[in-house]
Symmetry: C3
Subunit: 453 residues, 3 copies
């Protein structure tokens, strides 16, 4: 950091005591501008470095959520569809990464708007040049573009991961992946720009710290549209109203997925402070870590107790989804709540999951992993809970933001799903569903030696 | 960081060269107090930020150990109990998080003592206000409360995770969880305050850097009390002295758990330096990383070689537990040893595991995952090994601390276990153990499609 | 950080405004040398801290790659060999950690050369003393030795992990581990010192940022030598040219392994910037994160599309290896490419995998997990791709470096493998391969309750 400038000053510091007082004063006066400049530069550099570092740490943590979603979903599908589910998760992340750099990032953070506040322009992401210097950086109080890009990309990919779980076990690979490209390259970035790209929702005062609505409910809406267009898995809902339970094939793996998601959420919410270069920012990041963790705990405990009360026996999948719903619930405002409030906000999320998972089944909406209860319903709750602890937010604005995001995400997704259905078909045949997607679509079993019936 | 103060200085720096020498000297003299203040503030902020960041990174790494324990234990139980084991691990962490914020943290780090040095007071954790400033922070040389809280919480939860493995496959869910709440809310915080809350053990000079005794042996003592009250799994020890081997159902998952724990240990020991804002501190954290890693390696290699020598064939579970025992062994003093000494300290841990796992079986103490050899026995060894490389510690004081911690943790846990046994029963019936806890207690199988006999 | 020095200055700052102007000027003049020294020291400390922190974060991320390799390989072998594969992975990392500190690190970063530029000297690693101060640190612009050691160790261990996958399912445990000790203690460090220890390849201008050749192709060459000496698995290649497919037993686990490797690669490539204490360095680390991620995506997508086109159905193992090949390909130069170029460089890696996996089978080179296509072939491509985006590198020098590294790694490994074969035998008997290494060599099954035929 500016070492060239500092080293002569250090040499001067060594020389000074040997001079007389008058000479000394003169030397100091000469050196002063450099000292002042150096201190200011040091400060600027440090803020820039710490902010970038927050994005990088947040980035790799949220990246790992892709693995968390993959393990959760792969553990919750039947083993005959597990290879397909893993394939979808790796592919969706990879395609999101490419779509987001080619179109999404600059659409979401528009330098130039096509329609002011509503729609950005299209251009691929260009990083800062190699070895960028203080003087070259546009906004020196902020962070490196690369670190910001990597952090934001991970949020975009998470939206697609949410969809993947809900539509599992009967969607074809390629139409799903085409949907992912459109979702991550265009639909999500446009919507997210309204709030995080300094668009009209931001201007209105809509408050969604790390994305209960912008990311989680958004993904949930896209998933809901997909599930409705796609229909339920073959055999899930009998004509007599009988619901067939199709238990996940590997609950330990699903549990691992949940833990990885929880881990990643420290980056998801903590990184959304967007700055770590002052006492104030780092203390806020710390608050966010603590609140995020306790909200997840609240969600898990609430789901554990409630599922035991309702069904006599504790239900692991409810506990896992309860923790995740707690995390989604706190995501809109992880900073302002006290630890107690955060626990309660998370606990409500857990309660929502326990009540809405069976509700969806009653409505014959077949969401394989519970993505809609966790991400959509808890996301809506989290969005509306912001004004409870943050007096800068209002219920009215929260509702408007939540509704507009939902309307757009659902409608845009629905259109794309319907086109895909019309053009190429999105649903695997009933026979192939019975055989399993791994054999019919992939020709490759997830656990070829184990007795998957 | 204090940008408002620095920017006018920077402006002055630009203006200075245009002034005459006399004016310049005057301007500098006027600016000087600000420069001095700014430099001091910059330094303070940086130390605070770096220390907080260490806690945050350490926090998420140690958080992930909850997943590590869960995978290790779920992989080492039989598949008919795997859902239960996963449920316990998610629930224990969640309950620990809530108990620790409501009671534990302030009991452990008492602002006011109820009995000076022995017992703190009871009050929930209150984080710093949002957007706290330099001037508002109590102890500016330290770190944010939230970051400290999140880091310390993870240690508390680890104590409960240790217990969970030992009592697996025959303990009822709810009594176990009640024990966890008391352990993490009260028993552990009281004990830990003696050393880390500036209590009497700290005053005595007891030295346990990251908790070989305070966390690991403590958890091991609580586990031992539980195992004794609970009794062995049905069928484990025949009347004729025959020991039935009950192999773990998923060794790759257990291996993953071990790796995750090893990863988390970098945060566990490294974060326990408590500071990273000076060359000296960051170099010490680096020493700790290196020693922690090599001690784990020493434990794994020692267990690999010894198990091969003793039993003709290498034993993966011994290798996994050997690595963990190496980690536990170095935890009391990961800073002062050389790399060679750390390797040996860890290797002794690995040897302890290989000898004490069968010993417990001879004593009919049924520890499902080897938690007592790993955390208790290696923890005691680690505690007593401190004076070998740290001349500030003495064998006498180490022994006294170790013994008092052990006596309290064992006695307090025993009382709670006995009360739980008397009041609600803690043991699943033999018939239900044969069927498996997943079916009888949960109604949910971990691997429903795989042929678990 | 230098708080003792700064605090009196801060006191002076408070006192100054109360003095007259003359006294003030005098006081400032007296304080000036301290201010200058303090600012310089603050800057130096910060650079040192941030660089060390980069190594520590990079270190734990790359450590976790050991778990990634272990899960990938354990998921891709048949279940009858899974315990052995897990054992090998834990043991190889542990032995590498010990060998590298006893011999490797100082052989690779030689203070004194035995043969200048070609061969370092032998001595164990000694860390900085506890509580090292600014004045005691040799190279204050750099980072702590411990942090550098831990980071470099993880690269060394990765080389051994690469070998382990290729020779799986038929190699004996102990000869393999002896090979690992020689590889990580001697062969790799000598080779790596040529480039990263300021040896002759570095002087020549050979450019391999994070080790496409130095780490990945190097591991691939060692693996190839092993596979050739060892021969194919029993039953893999029929006399009539028939190739028996031996599918991996747990693809979700392999997928997890791939995700963990991808996560670790942020540390692998990002940490190889070696510095994070300036705007320029942290922005470069950010570029590297972004390029590393997009190259992996490019590799996965290319393998997905190409495998579908060639074989009609998408192949998950190709997608996993495609992503890894993308990561290996970008490793030689993750800094200079644009995002688009990084995507293409990674995509070529994915294409290489899809074409060379069947090619090896045609040549009857039995690489169980595809380590040679991923690490060797994509590593060579990555090395030769450097000049495409980095004008400081030349194709000629890249080729020479790549060839010399390859020749040495292959030859040295071959000699060791041949000696091990002659002295103790390295191959498990055909009968025992049929039964599985877990039963015959370990006496311990990975999934004892599941129907592994």
């Amino acid at each position: 950091m500016q070492l060239k400038k500092i080293l002569p000053l250090a040499a001067l510091a060594v020389a000074l005591p040997t001079l007389g007082m008058a000479q000394e004063a003169e030397a100091v006066a000469e050196a002063a501008p450099d000292v002042l400049e150096t201190v200011a530069a040091l400060n600027t550099e440090m803020v820039f470095i710490m902010n970038s570092l927050l994005f990088l740490i947040g980035g790799f943590l949220v990246f790992f959520m892709a693995a968390g979603f993959c393990m959760l979903e792969t553990g919750l599908v039947r083993s005959k569809n597990a290879t397909m589910q893993a394939t979808k998760n790796v592919a969706l992340f990879s395609l999101a990464a490419i779509a987001y750099f080619i179109v999404g990032f600059n659409l979401m953070y528009p330098g130039d708007w096509v329609i002011e506040g509503w729609l950005g322009g299209i251009s691929p992401t260009v990083l800062e040049p190699v070895g960028v210097e203080l003087a070259d950086v546009d906004d020196v109080e902020y962070a490196s573009i690369g670190s910001d890009f990597i952090f934001q990309l991970m949020f975009c990919a998470a939206v697609a991961s949410i969809v993947s779980g809900a539509v599992a076990e009967r969607i074809k690979l390629w139409p799903f992946l085409i949907f992912v490209v459109i979702l991550t390259g265009i639909i999500y970035p446009i919507q997210a720009s309204w709030s995080w790209g300094e668009g009209f929702l931001d201007e209105m005062g809509f408050s969604d710290f790390a994305g209960s609505s912008i990311v989680h409910a958004a993904g949930g809406w896209a998933a809901l549209a997909g599930v409705l267009v796609l229909g339920a898995r073959y055999g899930k809902y009998g004509k007599d109203g009988k619901i067939t339970v199709m238990p996940g094939s590997n609950l330990p793996l699903a549990t691992l997925g949940m833990f990885i998601l929880w881990l990643g959420w420290f980056g998801f919410n903590g990184g959304s402070q967007l700055a770590m270069g002052t006492i104030s920012d780092v203390a806020d990041v710390s608050r966010i870590f603590a609140n995020t963790n306790t909200a997840a705990s609240g969600g898990a405990v609430a789901a554990l107790i409630l599922s035991t009360v309702l069904y006599k026996k504790p239900d692991l999948t409810m506990v896992l989804n309860g923790a995740l719903a707690g995390l989604v619930s706190i995501t809109a405002e992880p900073l302002t709540p006290s630890l107690g409030a955060a626990t309660l906000i998370g606990a409500v999320g857990g309660v929502i999951v326990v009540f809405t998972v069976p509700l969806l089944d009653k409505l014959k909406i077949d969401d394989v992993v519970g993505a809609i209860p966790v991400h959509l319903f808890a996301g809506l709750w989290g969005t509306m809970a912001v004004p409870l602890t943050n007096s800068d937010a209002s219920f009215g604005t929260q509702f408007v933001g939540m509704a507009l995001i939902g309307a757009f995400m659902f409608a845009a997704s629905l259109v794309v799903w319907l086109i895909l259905k019309a053009v190429m078909g999105i649903r695997v045949s009933d026979e192939d569903q019975v055989t399993g997607l791994d054999k019919t679509e992939m020709g490759m079993e997830a656990y070829p030696e184990f007795g998957n019936t």
